[in-house]
């Protein structure tokens, strides 16, 4: 699994194109259906969904309890439901435990709350090393954890999907959910990075 997506052989492009034309000509797929599927995952379903869940969990203790109890149900409350999010578990990072998510066998990922996975998540280096040397993996993302923090790696081998709830950054007391959500990156919800510090929000 190469991570290089920028210089693909035109043979692949051609093959994809030929298959699409064939399927459309045979009436097996409708072009407007393909467009609807792309539109859903390119523009509608993405990591801002998860960021809102995390921010709400930070701000509202009752919601946090619901999210940690049954994340699929809590996500559905916000309208985030569907394919690759049917069985969702939220795992919370604390000073004692740091959670990290991987799928060593393919690319299982909680689509309903994070959208489609980034290239590195699907790549051989991450899939091979996250379960054998997670501290080195985290260091490559610039994340250094205290030695006493225990690391828990979740290998998504089933239809269970895992969402990391990162620690709430200090200095955010009294912030609105909307403002908090801008500190929650996709990578922090996979567990490779902490949430952003105040002042470096996602716009």
């Amino acid at each position: 699994m190469t991570g290089d997506h920028s210089h693909l052989p035109s043979a692949t492009e051609l093959r994809a194109k030929a298959l699409e034309s064939l399927l459309v000509d045979k009436g097996l797929v409708r072009p407007e259906t393909l467009d609807a599927i792309i539109e859903t995952y390119q523009n509608q379903v993405g990591p801002r969904n998860g960021a809102r869940l995390v921010a709400l969990a930070w701000a509202d203790a009752e919601f946090r309890a619901r999210l940690l109890g049954d994340a699929a149900k809590a996500a559905a409350e916000m309208g985030y439901l569907g394919r690759q999010g049917e069985h969702l578990k939220a795992v919370e990072n604390t000073r004692e435990v740091h959670n990290l998510v991987v799928c060593t066998l393919c690319s299982c990922y909680p689509w309903t709350v994070l959208g489609l996975p980034p290239v590195w998540y699907k790549s051989a280096p991450y899939r091979s090393r996250a379960v054998s040397e997670p501290r080195s993996v985290l260091a490559e993302f610039g994340t250094e954890l205290p030695l006493e923090t225990r690391i828990r790696v979740w290998d998504s081998t089933s239809e269970m999907r895992y969402l990391v709830v990162p620690m709430r950054p200090p200095g955010t007391e009294g912030w609105s959910v909307e403002r908090l959500s801008r500190l929650v990156t996709r990578n922090s919800m996979i567990g490779v990075e902490p949430a952003l510090a105040p002042g470096s929000e996602v716009l």
Binding site: M1, T2, G3, H5, S6, L8, T12, E13, A16, K17, A18, L19, E20, S21, L22, V24, D25, K26, G27, L28, V29, R30, P31, T33, D35, A36, I37, I38, Q42, G82, R83, H87, T104, L105, C106, L116, P118, V119, K122, S123, A124, P125, Y126, R127, S128, V131, S132, P134, R135, S136, E140, R150, I151, R152, V153, D155, T157, S158, E159, M160
Partner: protein, 252 residues
């Protein structure tokens, strides 16, 4: 099967080299988004399930699986499923490839996304849509509806939380979700997720279900005493696990 996809603990792939999150697009080229959509749309025809789809991507020479990019593996898997289900033939693919190649040659440029609407319009006007082929609203409904993997089964879970279990060694020829690196290792049952559809059977079209457990493995049980200290939690179905009473026998 322990194909090129079973990557946990393999070595030599180098650093991760992530793209900055804020700069990474959802798709890196138009063909990737078309392959993604074709895979989902043809999946909605109901001719194969998710485990058959995963298995189709895995059933490649490991060198091919590892050399190809992620969506190239999706394309290979989808083409295979379409061929094996008889929805398309090799001759039709060859013909479509030749046609796509000549179209590309005619304009002297690689074909682009801009070609699609034109072709689509011709096809739409030339051929009525077949019944049972999902339209955009059907697709949105299916994606939003999802498909739970949990099932009610008569039996009770064999293992309790806290039990010591051993991941059985197995060399199955078919699809399995028991990662190679955990096989033969001892872990502890952390949680039971209820009964879930069993991929090994589902990939053969049999919707059997078994209890699914989250099993915690100490890094030293997986990688030896020199390993960094941490824990890996793996979702494993009951048939993948042996109980403490089997540990002393060769039946694991």
């Amino acid at each position: 099967m322990r194909g090129g996809h079973d990557l946990g603990g393999r070595q030599g792939f180098g650093p991760i080299d992530p793209e900055p999150e804020s700069a990474e697009p959802v798709f890196h080229s138009d063909w990737e988004r078309r392959v993604f959509a074709i895979t989902l749309a043809t999946g909605m025809l109901g001719r194969w399930n998710i485990d058959q789809s995963r298995h189709a991507r895995e059933r490649q020479h490991p060198v091919d699986y590892l050399r190809q990019s992620y969506y190239e593996n999706w394309l290979a898997g989808t083409e295979k499923l379409l061929l094996e289900s008889g929805l398309i033939s090799t001759a039709e693919i060859e013909h479509a490839l030749a046609a796509a190649g000549s179209r590309r040659g005619d304009c002297g440029l690689p074909s682009t996304a801009a070609d699609s609407p034109g072709q689509a319009a011709e096809t739409e006007s030339g051929q009525p849509n077949r019944p049972g082929i999902p339209g955009p609203e059907d697709a949105r409904r299916i994606l939003r509806g999802g498909g739970p993997a949990t099932r009610e089964i008569g039996a009770s879970p064999r293992f309790a939380i806290g039990d010591t279990v051993l991941a059985r060694r197995q060399l199955t020829a078919g699809h399995t979700r028991a990662p190679g690196y955990a096989q033969g290792c001892r872990g502890r049952v952390h949680a039971c997720h209820g009964a879930h559809v069993f991929p090994d059977a589902n990939s053969k079209g049999d919707p059997l279900a078994h209890y699914l457990y989250s099993v915690a493995f100490d890094s030293r049980a997986l990688w030896g005493k020199e390993a960094e200290p941490f824990e890996v939690l793996i979702d494993l179905w009951e048939p993948y696990l042996a109980g403490a009473n089997e540990l002393a026998t060769n039946a694991i």
